[in-house]
Each structure stands twice: as structure tokens, then as C-alpha cells.
């Protein structure tokens, strides 16, 4: 076929040469090797370049189709190299992460986390519940005069109720004049003296009694006291406030009730109980309408203002909340107890 110009071998053998390069690519084991293969294939003596150079010997009528063949060959090689490169990268990562395998259950050591005492937690929770109801938090000293602790609260000297408090007296000033407060109620008087009504306060705090420690009593314990002084306040407001607190703190399905009782500083006086969803009752604390003598001691006119007060133990709360059977355990400072909270 003399009229058909001869096809240069650089072009006729291009397919086979590309196949050889592709085989090299398939067997390449690293990214560097692939780079070398690619530059050899597309370099000066590589099959693509030499095929391009041979194009001039090709009949012009075929040149276009031959040119496309050469371009396709180059693309094929580049695509293969890229595919192989991706494959190799995945394999390398796989190999690397395999080599880095860890057993996360065998980790040694724990950072030391601290713990807030469950009493503090209960105390703050109670504060927050009342703050949400518009109360502020009042405080007073632990070491009190007997006037604030007793006289001002309608418990005059010689009153039998004084003995009921099992007071711890402090050697300070006149004998019997200084006492570790037996309840948070002195804060009522101090607040009334310091602040004009209306008064909406709670007074959480540490209190002291001459009690031998047992599973439910400690000589040093904690109470929270509430006092409201405003116009026209009575027992109904006390009941409503206790009920609102009960539902806010324990949940909607809890309820409260008042029943008559006796305290020197309130009249009428009431014990308040909380009813659990199962219907059972929990005796919680004491309350009542502030006795006119107490208002007077605080410098407030009982004809103009009236109020109610209530109080209960925080320790008992934590005991019930966390199921602490022996309250003493909460105050031995045993880390094995503390770190549970």
C-alpha cells in the first residue's frame, strides 16, 4: 500500500507503551514512585512526547485523529497515576491508624474533680427556689445575745421554752447573755430593725444546740427561715407561700398543709407538712403568723403591718434527698462520702 504513508512506530506502538506505563502505575508502591513514573512517561523520552514529535510524519488528513489519540493516552496515564495515588494514600492512612491503635479502657489516672458538699447544694437550691419567688437572703451572726435569740422572740427570761432549746452559752460578757444561736429566728429581728417593711426574706444558716449527736440530730446543724412582713398578711398567705414553694421545689405533684401547733414567736402557729405523690406526709417545719410581741421587738407596729414566718431544717432535706440514713456521716468529712456528690 504505497499510497498510504507509513505510520511511525512512535505512534503505532503508543498503545502498548501506555499499557506498559499503566502496569508500572498499578505496581507502584509509593507516591514518589508514581511521581517518577509520571515524569518518565511525559518527559522528553517518554512515549507521549516522542509520539507527539512523530506527528509531523503523519499524513495531515490523519493528524487530527492521531493527535487526539496521543492526548487520550496522556490523560489515561495521568488519571491512572492520580487514582493510584489516592489508593496509596488511603492505604498509607489505614496502615498508620492501624499502627496507632489504643485501648481506651486501659487509660491510667483520673484528674481530681472537686465536690460541693450536699448540704451546700441543698442550701443553694432552697435559696434559688425562694429567690425565684421574690425573696432576698438575709444573714446574722452565729454568736448572739440572748435578747435576739430569746427575749425578742417572745421567750422572756425564765420562760420554760428557753430550756427546750438546749442552748450552748458562750463565756462572753455577763453570764448567760451570749449564746450560740439556737435557731435562725434572730435574723428576723435583725432584719426588721435594719429594714422598713415590706420584708420578704429567707435566712439560711448554721445553728447550734446542746444535743448529743445521733442519726437525725447534730449539735451543729442548719436551718432556713422565711419572713414576710407586709400589709394585711395572714395565715392564708403563709399557706399559699408554702404551697407555692412546695410545688416549685419538689414538683407540681407535691402539696402542703398546715396544722395547728405552738411556737412562742408566732400566733397562730402551724406545723407544715409536705404530701408526696404517693399520698404520704412528711413533717417539714414550723410556721405561723408573727406574734405581735415579735413585731414590736423588731420596731414594727402590729396594727399597721402583719406577717408570717416559717422555718425548717436543711440537714433533714439533704438526708431525705440523698437517703442518708445517719446524718452524722454527712459531717465526718470522710472523702468516701463527699466524693459521691
Amino acid at each position: 500500500m504505497p499510497d498510504i504513508p507509513e505510520i511511525p512506530s512512535e505512534i503505532s506502538e503508543l498503545g502498548a507503551r501506555v499499557s506498559a506505563v499503566l502496569a508500572q502505575v498499578e505496581s507502584a508502591e509509593s507516591s514518589d514512585e508514581l511521581t517518577a513514573i509520571l515524569s518518565a512517561a511525559t518527559g522528553k523520552t517518554g512515549p507521549i512526547t516522542v509520539a507527539r514529535k512523530a506527528m509531523s510524519q503523519v499524513d495531515p488528513t490523519h493528524r487530527k485523529s492521531v493527535g487526539m489519540r496521543v492526548q487520550d493516552a496522556k490523560t489515561t496515564i495521568e488519571t491512572a497515576v492520580e487514582a493510584r495515588r489516592v489508593g496509596l494514600g488511603a492505604a498509607e492512612r489505614t496502615a498508620r491508624v492501624q499502627a496507632e491503635r489504643m485501648d481506651l479502657t486501659e487509660v491510667v489516672g483520673t484528674p481530681t474533680a472537686g465536690h460541693i458538699h450536699p448540704l451546700t447544694q441543698a442550701w443553694e437550691d432552697l435559696e434559688d427556689a425562694f429567690i425565684g419567688m421574690g425573696f432576698t437572703v438575709a444573714e446574722g451572726p452565729h454568736v448572739e445575745t440572748d435578747w435576739y435569740n430569746f427575749d425578742a422572740l417572745n421567750i422572756p427570761k425564765g420562760h420554760p421554752a428557753r430550756d427546750g432549746f438546749d442552748s450552748l452559752y458562750v463565756n462572753n460578757g455577763e453570764e448567760g447573755s451570749t449564746v450560740l444561736r439556737t435557731h435562725t429566728s434572730p435574723v428576723q429581728i435583725r432584719t426588721m430593725q435594719a429594714q422598713e417593711p415590706p420584708i420578704y426574706i429567707i435566712a439560711p444558716g448554721r445553728v447550734f444546740r446542746r444535743d448529743t449527736a445521733d442519726a437525725t440530730h447534730l449539735p451543729v446543724f442548719h436551718q432556713i427561715e422565711g419572713l414576710v412582713i407586709d400589709k394585711g398578711i395572714g395565715l392564708a398567705h403563709l399557706a399559699g407561700t408554702i404551697e407555692k414553694f412546695t410545688q416549685a421545689f419538689f414538683g407540681e405533684e407535691f402539696h402542703s398543709r398546715l396544722r395547728p401547733n405552738y411556737f412562742p414567736f408566732t400566733e397562730p402557729s402551724a406545723e407544715f407538712d409536705i404530701q408526696r405523690p404517693d399520698g404520704s406526709w412528711l413533717e417539714l417545719g414550723g410556721s405561723g403568723v408573727v406574734h405581735p410581741n415579735v413585731l414590736r421587738a423588731g420596731g414594727i407596729d402590729p396594727e399597721e403591718w402583719s406577717g408570717f414566718a416559717f422555718g425548717f431544717g436543711i440537714d433533714r432535706f439533704l438526708q431525705i434527698k440523698h437517703g442518708v440514713t445517719d446524718l452524722r456521716e454527712a459531717f465526718t468529712n470522710d472523702i468516701r462520702f463527699l466524693e459521691q456528690f
Partner: protein, 797 residues
Amino acid sequence: MRAVLSWMREFAPIAGEPEQIADQLTSLGLVVEEILTVGADWDGIVVARVLDLRSHPEADKIQLVDVDIGDGEALQICCGAFNMNVGDKVALATLGTTMPDGLEIARRKLRGEWSNGMICSSSELKLEASDSHGIMILETDAELGTPLSKALGAVTDIVFDIDVEGNRPDALSVIGITRDLAAKQGVPFVVPSPKVLEGGMPAAAVCSAEIVDLDLCPRFGLRVLRNVVNGPSPVWMQNRLIAAGMRPISTVVDISNYVMLETGHPNHTFDLDTIPGGALRIRRAKPGESLRTLDGTDRSLVAPDGSGIGRGLGDGVIANASDEAISLAGVMGGFTTEISDATTNVLLEAAVWDRMSIANTSRRLNLRSEASTRFERGVDHAGLERALDRFCELAAELADAEIAPGRVFADAPPVAPVIVTTRTSMVNQLLGTDLDAAAMVGLLNPIGFSCSNPTLSDGARFDVTVPSWRPDSTIEADIAEEIGRHFGFDNIENQVPVSIETGELTQLQRGRRRIRRAFATVGCAEAMPIPFLAPGDLAAAGLSGDALTLANPLVSEESVLRTSLLPGLLKAVAYNASHRRPDVRLFELGSVYHPTADGELPDEPEQVAAILGQTDATEAVRLLRGVAQSLGLDLRVKNAERAGLHPTRAAEVIFRGKTIGEVGEVDPAVAEAFEISGRVGWVQLDVAALAVGLTAVPKAKPVSRFPSSDLDLAFVVPGEVEASAVHDSLMKAGRPLVQSVELFDVFRSEQLGADRRSLAFSVRLQADDRTLSDEDVQSTRTKMINEVTKRHKAELR
């Protein structure tokens, strides 16, 4: 107070199931703690006689008792009580009996000895709530083997065990409780007048009384009973007493107790023939006086000291014509005038005593009785007559007594009844109710608060005469309480007052919360040691200075008020170390107490402290830095000696130029004194000072967008130069480009020379407005080096 239902029904037709009645009583403030059923379920329990008592060969707490149940056989029982004697009659639960609490009695061996039944205590028979009296000894004529229910004539009865509050002396009686309950139920309440048939010489001819101290005894009444035949009281009375929690003793004593329980008014009986002329004088004790009480104890009496308060009131006595004390007023009778089996003529006394005097005497002598409890709370001034007459009525019927005509009284001028002017508006305000006067009167009248004199035509104001048995009721609020109790607290509609304030914590209160979280964040657990210390604790902790002491501590180990948190936390570490947790990290936030000038209340500053077991000072400083970082406060450390801390490993903590605490290591000698081995880290800060600092609101500084340059500088520094001083110099000299200076290495070696060390700092420089040039860095570096080398005799390494 135990209210027996059948007894209550003598005064009012009380209706309802026991649980309903208990709920009604509780709603009145007479809280029912327990409902007891007496006389029930006694099948199989019979009267037995103790034949022999032997010790158990293998056990100290059990004895062997042989009993006879009427067949003449000795039946061996193992018994844990020791209060019976041979010949006593007891209640024996025979084999197969089911006890009221469900226990089945079977033949069983106790430490190798057979027990063929159980000898019962009164609580096991549900006659008493507690077992304080041991085995119940039966006072019965019934033959052996008689069923117990027959022997005691027991019928089923209901007993309400009521917790009576201090303001309700009237509720320490069957009549008082019934009055309240009848009013609640709306049923008629009637107390029959005692019928006393009198005969013989008038009482006034054989006895007399003179009250010397009217403030001790405003009323004193006597009656005379002749030819009294004493012996066991009838079964019905014994049952009532047992049900009410008292032990039957003899007719005269039982009547005395019965009348007290029924009326609430205690009484006392003397053997009239032991009192010359029957003449009595009522007075306070004299100095040095003593009295043998009927329990055979000689008691020294206390005379008044003139203070008129508490112990200073002195004891009250009843004396005879020779002015010798023969009875301790209201608390316990005397030995010489006590009723005996031979007594035939009885002088019966009922009185009103000063509440405080009785309270003090009974407390001082530790003689609390049913009588003293009632006198302390206040008995009914107008109740003497009924109490005396009721006694006589029962004694005539049960002890064949002849009642001498007339009562003999020595009285202070009568006390005018308390009348309280009551405004419906005030009552409605105090209760939150909307009741009219008629409704209030309707609630008050049935409980003896009689109402009169509406002074306004609409009845908005009326007078209430308080009954003599309610000495606690004196003001309008008391009347409101009575109305509220009988209206029912449950019937008052809830109202919620609206606070116009914003509920919030103060800055100090918020500060405390943040401080606690900061210490928890750095790994400390919150401890709460008791604030009381033993006398040597502060000294052992290396602390001096005055501390307050308790006048009446429970134990001497808890008699000093702490002036530092250190001793309590040291004890906590020692406690945990002894439980194999020596490396605890605890913190406490609490008050300490410092005495002030005469009579003033002490200062109560609040401190927060952390204690770190098995940890040295460096770790304590790191912890302090963590806390400071968490709180956002710039707390500086300055080496200083601190009491209780390691002499060369302690520092002050400085905040805004003031010392607010300390950090370091506990003095090894102190740790040793508290039995702690190993180093103990310590941080202590003043809470108020921290809280003030926490109120500052940090202002944001723009973060530079330009790159920073780091450089390290190491200096060889003399030993006395504090690292913090070098740090401060670098910060100062590096201005304005220096961003941070961190000490990252401390190095000592012989080459550096003794007492010299190398301190290496990493410094970061940055400008807000440009990328730093080499010259910026170089000039700042030079300034820093010059400053440190010049100021601290340091050399650049």
C-alpha cells in the same frame, strides 16, 4: 397524753372511726402519734403465777421462770425481764397463741433451755407503747389459768396517743381533749357535777392552810376523807389507767391519778394523822432546808435568791404547824406523811402552783412527773373544786370513805378573767378568712370562750372571756388561733403575697458560691468540720491568741470556738488518712470567731481554706493559682512566716496590696501533733476580701491581629531574690510590648555557686498595631535584661 375513747364518751357522744377521730384531733393541733387498740386479741393469754426464778446457765440476759397456770405443773419459760418475784401473777401467752403484733408463740429452745410460752409485757399486749416497766405484774384476784381478758375485765378500747403542745395545758386531760373534739364534731359536751355525800365533823375543824408566799401558790384547797379502806381498785379503773399509760397501785393512789387524768388537775393525799392539827403552811424553802421525799431520798432544798428568775425562785414546800417541810410543792410528796396501808384518814390537797417554780424544781431535781408537767404548763385556777369533789365522789364509792363536810381553802384574791376585745377585721386579716362575728362566736362558744358586748351595731368588735383552763390565751391573735383551729386550717383558702422586691443574692452571697466552685474546680471536696475545738487544738496547730469558750459544752473536746479553720481541717485529713485516703484535698468555707471588747459580740470573719494531704508547698501555690485564675483575681504570693505553717515554706497572699491569706505547707510539727505523716499543703483566704474583688467586671482588651514573638531569658539570681520579683521586673521593663512572662524552669548546680539559681522565663512580645521588627524585639530584650541584671544582681546565662 393518752386519751381513752370510752372515757371521752362519758362526756360527749364522740362518733366516727378511730382514724377519722385521729384526723380531727390532729387538725385541732392535738397531734395523734399513735392509735392503740387495747384489750384485743388476747386469746390464749392466761393468768399464771411465778413459782420459781433461776438464772439461765448459758445466758446473762435471760432468766428461767417456772410458772403455774392452774394445773399445779411447773412450766419453764425463758424470760428476758427481771422485774417479777416469786408469787407474782403474770400474763402468760401459751403455746399456739398469736400475739397482737402477729408473733406466734411456739415451744423453742433458747441457749439450750426450753421455753414453753411467753410472759408478756404491757407493750406486747398493746397496753403501752413502750416497754419501760418490763413484765406486767397483774393485780388480780382471778384464778390461775383465767383468760387475761376476763381477769382484767378488758373490753376493746381505743387509745389516742396525743402530743400535747406547751400552750394547751387543758389538753392534758380527758375532759379538755373531749371538749375540743366535741366542738369539732358539733356534739353536746357535758361534764357532770360530782355528787358528794358528806358526813361527820366538818373539814374546817380538823385541818387548816395558810399561804405564806402567794406568788408561789395563789390557790390551795383541802378536803378530809375518813375511814378510807384502801386495797386494789376495781378492774374498770385499772383498765382505764393502764390504757392511759399508768400503773394501778391501790384504790387511793389510783383515784388520785384517775382524777388527774380526767380533770387535768393534779392532787396530793396526806395521811391526816401524821400532820399535827392538820395545819399546813405553804411557803418557799428556807436556806439549808432539806426534805425526805416519798421515794426515801433526802433532798437539799434551794431558797430564793431574790432574783425572781429561774433557779433564783427557789423551791416551794408545804410545811406543818412546826414549820417543818413535809412535801415538795407540786413535785413530790414527803416521806413522813405518805399514805400507807394503815392510813384511814386522808387529807386531800389540790393547789395552783407558780409555773416557773415548779419547772425549775422538777428540772433541778430531775423529777418530772405527770403532776409537775401539768403544773408547769398551768392548771385551771377554777378547777380545784371539781378535782377535790370528783376525788371524794370516787373515794366514797370505791374506798368506803366518809367525806367530811366542806372544803378548806387558802386563796390569793381571785384572778379576774381575761377579756380580749376582738375585731373581726383583725381576725380575718390574721387568718386570711372572711368570717362574720356570728360565725366567729359560733366557733368560740363551744370551747368555752364566751363572747359578749358587741360594741358596734354590725358586730365588728366583741369581747371574748377566756376560760380559766386556757392561761395561754391573752391577746387577739390567740383568739384568732382558736377561731382558725375550729374553722379548720384546711378550710382557709390559700393566697400568695406578691413581693415587690427582686429576689437576688448579695454580692457576698454570690461571691461565696463562686469561691466554692473555684475550689471544687481545682479538685477539692468541700468539708464541714464542727466549729468547736478541744482546749489544746489551737496551740497544737501553732496558733495563739484568745478564743471564746462555751459555758456549758456537751463534752470538753467541743468547748472552744475556732479562731482558724486549720485545726478542723487537720483533723479531717487525719481522719481520712486513718481510712487509707491520706492524699485527700479538702476545702472549707466557714466562719471563725474572734473575741472582742467586753460583752460585745465576737467578730465572725469568714474564711476559705484548702488542705492538701501528702502535698508540698509548690502544689499548694499551684492550687492557689488555679483558684485565682478561676475567680479572675490577681492574687500575689510573698514569702513570709505564718503561724502554724512551715517556717521556710510559707507565704502571704496579697490582693490589691493587702494580705488576705496565706499559702504554703503546714508546719511538720503541727502535722505531727495532729497525727498526720507526710507533707500537708495549705491555702487560706479571706472570703469578704475575695468577694469584693469578684464584683469587678473585667473589661475586654482587643486581641492583637499581628504575630507575636517569643524569646527565652535565663538569669542566674542570688538566693534571696524572689522569682516573683524578677518576674515583676521583666513585666515592667518589657512594656509596652510584653504580653506575658512565665517562669518555666528553675535550676541549681554547683557551677552556679552555692545559694544561686538559674531562673528561666519565657517571654511573649506583641504589638497591637504592627508586626514586630527585629529592632522592636532586640530593644525590648535589652531593656528587660538590663533591668533584671541591675536590680537583682543577676547575670544573664
